[in-house]
Symmetry: C2
Subunit: 373 residues, 2 copies
C-alpha cells in the first residue's frame, strides 16, 4: 500500500494503518463534536489530523469554540448538545437542532457517507436509527468494539445496542462483525466465535445453542469461518477474530475487562510505590511498561462501531484525545470507502440471512435504547 509520503507526521503515520490511504479522497465524514471530555476543540484537532491524512470532514459543533480550520474540514455551527441527556432517544427526537441529529441528517441526505459521534453511544444510536435508519433487511443495529488485544485485534459485538437478542439477531451480528473485520481491519477470512460458558456446542443458554446450530449449519457463504463457542477466558487469546454475544453480556464483558485492567495496573503501580527498592525497580521498568500500556491503548482502535445502519457510525470514547478522534474519523472513512455496509448486505443476502419482511418501527426499537453513554 502506498504511504501518503513525506508530508505525514509521526502521529499521522501511526494512525494510518496499511491500506488506510487508498481512495481516501471520496467519502465525507460527518463528525459531532459535542460531548468530548476535553471539549469540541479537541475533536476538531482530531479532525485536522485526519484531514491531513486525507480525510474530508464535516464538523458539527459550536463554531465559536472551534474557530478557523484548514482545508478538508468544513465547520457547521451546531452548538446544541444532547450528549449529557439522561434519555438520548427522547432528546434525539425532540431536538432537531442538536449537533448529533444534524450530523446524522447530513449522512441521511447523502452530504456525508459516515458518522462519527463524540457524544456517546446512546445519542449516536438514537440519532442514527431515526435519521440514517437501519440498512435493508437488518433486524437490529449492533455496537462492535475492537478489543485492545496485543498483536491481533478481536472484534466483540454486540456491546450494548440491544440488551435482549434473538437468534436471528446474533446470526446477523456474525455477518456484520465479519464484514467489519474484513473491510476495516483487513482480516482476510475472519474466524467468528460465539461467547458461551463452554466450548462444546451443547453449552450455553437456549439462545446460544440455537444460534450455534444455525451458524454451524447454514454456512456463511464464505463470509467467515465459524469456530464455535468461545469461553470468557479465550476472549483475549486470539482464537477468533470476531466474537458474537448479546448486548447485555457484551457490555458486562467489555466493562469487566476495563475494570480488571484498571485494578491490576493500579495494583502494580501501588506496588511500585511501596518501598524504596520497589520505587527504584518501578522507575527502571517504566519505559517497558509504557509499551504494555501502549499496546492496550483504546484510542488506537477508534472507539465503538455502530453497525447495521445504512451508513457506518463510529463512537470514539468521550475521554479520547485528538489522536483517538482522528483514528475514529479515518476508520469511518475506511469503512465508507470500502463499502462496509454494501458488503455486509451482499454477504447476508448470499447466506439468506436478511430479514425477509421489513417490519417493526424505529420507535419500538428506540424504546429499548440504552439511556446513557
Amino acid at each position: 500500500m502506498a504511504s501518503r509520503g513525506a508530508s505525514s507526521s509521526p502521529v499521522e503515520r501511526e494512525l494510518v494503518r496499511p491500506g488506510d490511504t487508498e481512495n481516501l479522497s471520496e467519502p465525507v465524514i460527518a463528525v459531532d463534536c459535542n460531548g468530548a471530555d476535553l471539549g469540541p476543540a479537541e475533536v476538531a484537532a482530531g479532525a485536522v489530523i485526519a484531514a491531513k491524512a486525507g480525510a474530508r470532514v464535516m464538523l458539527f459543533g459550536p463554531a465559536q469554540e472551534i474557530g478557523e480550520l484548514p482545508t478538508g474540514v468544513e465547520v457547521v455551527d451546531a452548538p446544541v448538545s444532547i450528549a449529557k441527556s439522561a434519555d438520548p432517544a427522547a432528546a434525539a427526537r425532540a431536538t432537531p437542532e442538536a449537533s448529533i441529529v444534524k450530523a446524522a441528517r447530513a449522512v441521511a441526505d447523502g452530504r456525508a457517507q459516515a458518522l462519527v459521534c463524540a457524544g456517546g453511544t446512546g445519542a449516536a444510536l438514537a440519532a442514527g436509527l431515526f435519521n440514517i435508519k437501519r440498512a435493508h433487511g437488518i433486524y437490529r443495529p449492533a455496537l462492535a468494539i475492537s478489543l485492545p488485544v496485543p498483536k491481533r485485534p478481536v472484534t466483540l459485538l454486540d456491546v450494548g445496542a440491544n440488551a435482549e437478542a434473538r437468534r436471528e439477531h446474533l446470526v446477523q451480528f456474525a455477518f456484520m462483525g465479519a464484514a467489519f473485520a474484513k473491510t476495516v481491519l483487513g482480516v482476510e477470512r475472519p474466524r467468528v466465535g460465539l461467547l458461551s460458558n463452554g466450548e462444546e456446542a451443547t453449552r450455553g443458554n437456549a439462545l446460544i445453542m440455537e444460534t450455534h446450530v444455525e451458524l454451524a449449519g447454514t454456512g456463511s457463504g464464505g463470509a467467515f469461518e465459524f469456530v464455535g463457542n468461545v469461553e470468557g477466558g479465550d476472549l483475549l487469546e486470539g482464537v477468533a477474530d470476531v466474537i458474537v454475544t448479546d448486548g447485555m453480556t457484551g457490555n458486562i464483558a467489555l466493562k469487566l475487562m476495563e475494570g480488571v485492567s484498571r485494578t491490576l495496573l493500579g495494583a502494580v503501580r501501588d506496588a511500585a510505590m511501596s518501598s524504596t527498592r520497589a520505587k527504584l525497580g518501578g522507575a527502571l521498568l517504566r519505559p517497558a511498561l509504557r509499551e504494555v500500556r501502549g499496546e492496550l491503548d483504546p484510542e488506537g482502535h477508534g472507539g465503538a462501531y455502530l453497525l447495521g445502519l445504512r451508513s457506518l457510525g463510529v463512537v470514539p470514547h468521550g475521554r479520547f484525545t485528538r489522536r483517538g478522534f482522528a483514528q475514529a474519523i479515518l476508520r469511518a472513512q475506511r469503512g465508507a470507502s470500502e463499502d462496509l455496509v454494501g458488503r455486509t448486505q451482499i454477504a447476508l443476502e448470499q447466506a439468506g440471512a436478511l430479514r425477509s419482511r421489513v417490519g417493526g418501527s424505529s420507535s419500538a426499537l428506540a424504546a429499548s435504547l440504552p439511556q446513557a453513554r
Copy 2:
C-alpha cells in the same frame, strides 16, 4: 474470637480466619481426593493441615496412594474417579463406587455434614444433586465464587451451575449468596447487586429488569440490602458484597477476569524481560509484585461454593495445592457449623421466596448440568 493457641503453624494461622475456630469439633467434612492436578496425596496433605486446625475429615480416594494419616482424618478407600469424565452427570449416575458419589452419599446419610470435591464442578454438582439433593424449596443450586478482590471479598453467583435462569432463580440466588457471605465470610449485612449493562433499574434484559423489580419491591426481610444493578466495571470495586447473575453470564465473567489477569500479568512479566534495564527493574520490583499476586491468590478463597443443596459443597480448583484444599475444608466446616443451609432456608421462608410446590426431577435438572469442569 479465640485463637487455637500456640500449636498452630503460620500456614494454619493464615488459613484460619477470625471466627473459623469456633465449634470446629462438630461437623465432619467428606472430601473427594480424586481429580486434583497434583494427585490425591496433595488433597490428603490439605486435609492434614485442616485437621490440625480442628477439622474432622472423611477422605474418599485411593487409600494406597494416600497412606497413613494422623487423627482427625479418616480414609475411605475409593480409587474409582469420574473427575475426567466428559459427561459427569451420566458418570455420577452410573458409577456408585466413584469417590465423589461415595463422598456425597456420606453427606446424604448424615455421616458427614459438608462435601469438598477436588474433581471439578460438573462431578460435584451431579453427585450432589443425585445424592444430597436440593434443599427444601430451592429451585436450582448455584455455584458461587468468592472473587480474589483485594481487601474485601465479592461473592459472584451463579458462575455456571445453570446456563439458563428464571426470575425466581435469581431471587433465590440473592438469598443464597447473602447467607453465604454472612455465615462463611462474616459480612454483617451483605449488600446484594444484580449484574447488568447499566446502573439504572431500566437497564438489562427482561430477566434482569423483572428480577430487579422483585428484589427492590418485596424486600429481603433484613437478610441483605439490595443495592440495585451493578455494571461489569464495578464488579471489583466493592459496591456490593454479593453479585447475582445467571450461570452463563457469571461463567463468562469469571473466566474473562482470569483471562485478563493472566494476559496483563504476562505482559508485565514480558516487559520485565525486554531489556537489561527492565530486567533490573523487574528484579527490584519482584517482592512487591509477589504481594499483589498474593492478594489475588484464589487458593485463599477455597474455591467455588455449591449452594442450594441440603448440605454445603465446596469445589476447590483442581490446580490448587494443599493450602487451597485445606482452606476449602475449613470453609466447608465453617458453613456446616454455622448452619449456612438452615439460615438460608429461614431467610427465604421469611421473605416468602421458597418454592411453594416442590416439583421437577433431579433428572431434568441433570440434563442441563455442565459437562466438564
